[in-house]
């Protein structure tokens, strides 16, 4: 499309040949590293001229990659898999993941153990990793998915509202919502994600052709994100300020999330691979992914390996 044409022009004219990359980020802290890397000139330093577009969810950024509207996107494992099953996408690294404690399952109306969920209404954000977490949760606690009602809602605000009213009896909330969820009468935190022994992970995904034509981009991107991670850890206040400025995330929420919810770390380990594989299997088994594919074909870890040899360990 027209984006490509523009990219080439810039390439030709710029003397210090910066690589133009169109990046899609979601509108939460998940994409903070991108924003920091851009604002702090980290991308530029690594030879990348990044143009960031914002979408609602990670899955939207991958859809944009699929349709060639951006070159690079981000998504949690579950959404990432559903997208890479559809087109020529490559996973470049795991770059940001929520801590296990960052997401808690709250329940109300006297529910005190997982088994009590049977027959209840539960809030879910469809198409996001939230859907997988529930699936996994049912598996772990031997709850028949047919014995509960999953109520799809669009964003956490709606989930909270429905939960507050008692229209749903349980839902997962992120750190930003712990206070509000706790305040609701009869509401208790049942579990966090450690109970089901998974941690959702955020992956950096790029258009396959981009990596094929410009293999160096992967290393540059990963270096930038790693550097941005360090910056965020060192300067949480500034990063939160940026989150407010760029994304209109309330500053206190941003700070809270930076400190407590996210682990900014660029890597790709065996456990990460295993988890992707497991989710893939699960998605196929549950019909969320129609076409099986070879996961290894979808990985392009050379760039990461080149930048941080010790951060990649995979057979």
């Amino acid at each position: 499309g027209c984006g490509d044409a523009k990219a080439e022009n810039k390439e030709a004219s710029g003397a210090p040949a910066l690589q133009k990359v169109r990046v899609g980020g979601d509108s939460a802290i998940f994409s903070l590293q991108f924003r920091v890397a851009k604002e702090q000139g980290i991308f530029e330093k690594n030879g990348i001229d990044a143009e960031i577009s914002t979408f609602s969810f990670g899955i939207d950024t991958l859809n944009a990659v699929l349709t060639d509207r951006v070159d690079v996107g981000e998504a949690m494992d579950y959404a990432a898999l559903s997208a890479i099953s559809k087109g020529d996408l490559k996973v470049l690294s795991l770059f940001n993941s929520p801590k296990a404690t960052s997401s808690k399952l709250f329940a109300r109306d006297g529910i005190s153990k997982p088994e009590d969920l049977v027959g209840k209404k539960l809030g879910v954000q469809k198409g996001t990793v939230n859907e997988y977490i529930w699936g996994k949760y049912f598996e772990t606690f031997h709850i028949d998915p047919k014995a509960v009602t999953l109520v799809p809602l669009q964003s956490t605000a709606e989930i909270l509202a429905a939960y507050d009213r008692g229209d749903i009896q349980a839902a997962w909330f992120g750190t930003a919502f712990f206070d509000k969820a706790e305040k609701i009468k009869g509401s208790v935190a049942l579990n966090d994600q450690s109970a089901i022994n998974i941690r959702t992970k955020g992956f950096l995904v790029a258009k396959g052709s981009l990596i094929k034509d410009h293999p160096e981009i992967s290393a540059e991107l990963n270096k930038s994100l790693a550097e941005a991670s360090q910056y965020i850890i060192d300067h949480p206040e500034e990063a939160a300020e940026l989150a407010f400025k760029e994304l209109k995330i309330p500053k206190e929420n941003a700070l809270n999330e930076i400190k407590n919810q996210w682990e900014f770390d660029v890597r790709f380990k065996q456990e990460d691979y295993d988890q992707l594989k497991e989710i893939k299997e699960w998605s196929i088994a549950n019909g969320y992914i129609e076409q099986d594919f070879n996961l290894d074909d979808k990985l392009a870890l050379d760039g990461l390996k080149e930048a941080f040899p010790d951060k990649v360990d995979i057979k």
Partner: protein, 258 residues
């Protein structure tokens, strides 16, 4: 008879042309994102096979119908009163011209909070989307009733109440018929938003989830269904208007079209 047949032919011509253009267009695009009529048809068959298509259409139609009906039933008397009483008009008009620009979509969170995640909030959302356009059209109709009609009714001894019932209402029928038809368009706009709320079923839900999973053919099925439902509803409404409201001059309003 000749007209009926000709009109029919014309309709068929239109749709054939449409299918052909679609096919050509789709064949020249990436079909993952722009399915051809055939692919869309296959998508529809999938959905029909597990019975969800018919259920979805039925459910969405019910919601639209209910919300639209409530909106109209509320909007018509409100519009009549607002059009009739100048002080009320002056009081209420700023709100009307303010709220009509706040789309139903922006209210989703609040509506869940106030009305829950059940049918209620969906129907109310659709009602909200139809309400303003019906009120505005009706009120404008009332304001534009020819003075001479009201004057002669009054000098023929009609009371204010009788003027409302026997002059204003009949004279306004075309205006509110028009409003109600336009409002139906808005209902369909709202159903897509409404079914993003906590819905497990419905055409809006189909489009929404298909979007998340990038099932473009299903998105297309959803779009076509919305169009078809709207088209059918509109034709029904027009037919009703033509037959039962004929003496109020609806024929003229529906003259645009077959």
């Amino acid at each position: 008879m000749r007209y009926v047949r000709k009109g029919l032919q014309m309709g068929i011509v239109s749709w054939l042309l449409f299918l052909i253009l679609w096919q050509i267009f789709a064949m020249n695009s990436n079909q993952d994102y722009f399915p051809t009529p055939v692919q869309t048809f296959r998508g529809a068959v999938e959905l029909i096979a597990d019975n969800s298509l018919v259920t979805y259409v039925f459910i969405s139609f019910k919601r639209v119908l209910l919300g639209w009906l409530l909106g109209s039933l509320l909007g018509i008397p409100a519009g009549l009163l607002i059009g009739r009483f100048k002080w009320l008009r002056q009081l209420v008009e700023p709100y009307l011209n303010f709220f009509r620009f706040i789309p139903a979509l922006a209210f989703i969170t609040l509506f869940i909070l106030w009305f829950g995640i059940g049918e209620q909030s969906k129907v109310i959302l659709i009602m909200y989307a139809t309400l303003f356009i019906v009120i505005l059209n009706t009120a404008a109709g009332v304001v534009n009733v020819e003075d001479d009609k009201i004057r002669s009714a009054r000098s023929l001894g009609a009371s204010e109440r009788q003027i409302l019932i026997h002059v204003i209402i009949p004279a306004v029928v075309p205006a509110f018929f028009n409003g109600v038809r336009l409002a139906m368009g808005n209902s369909f706009m709202a159903i897509v938003g409404a079914e993003m709320i906590a819905a497990n079923e419905g055409v809006g839900y189909l489009i929404w989830t298909s979007r998340l999973y990038s099932k473009t053919d299903w998105i297309f099925v959803g779009l076509l269904l919305l169009g078809l439902m709207g088209f059918t509803g509109d034709q029904l409404l027009r037919w009703l208007g033509k037959t039962s409201l004929k003496r109020y001059g609806i024929a003229k309003e529906t003259r645009f079209g077959r």
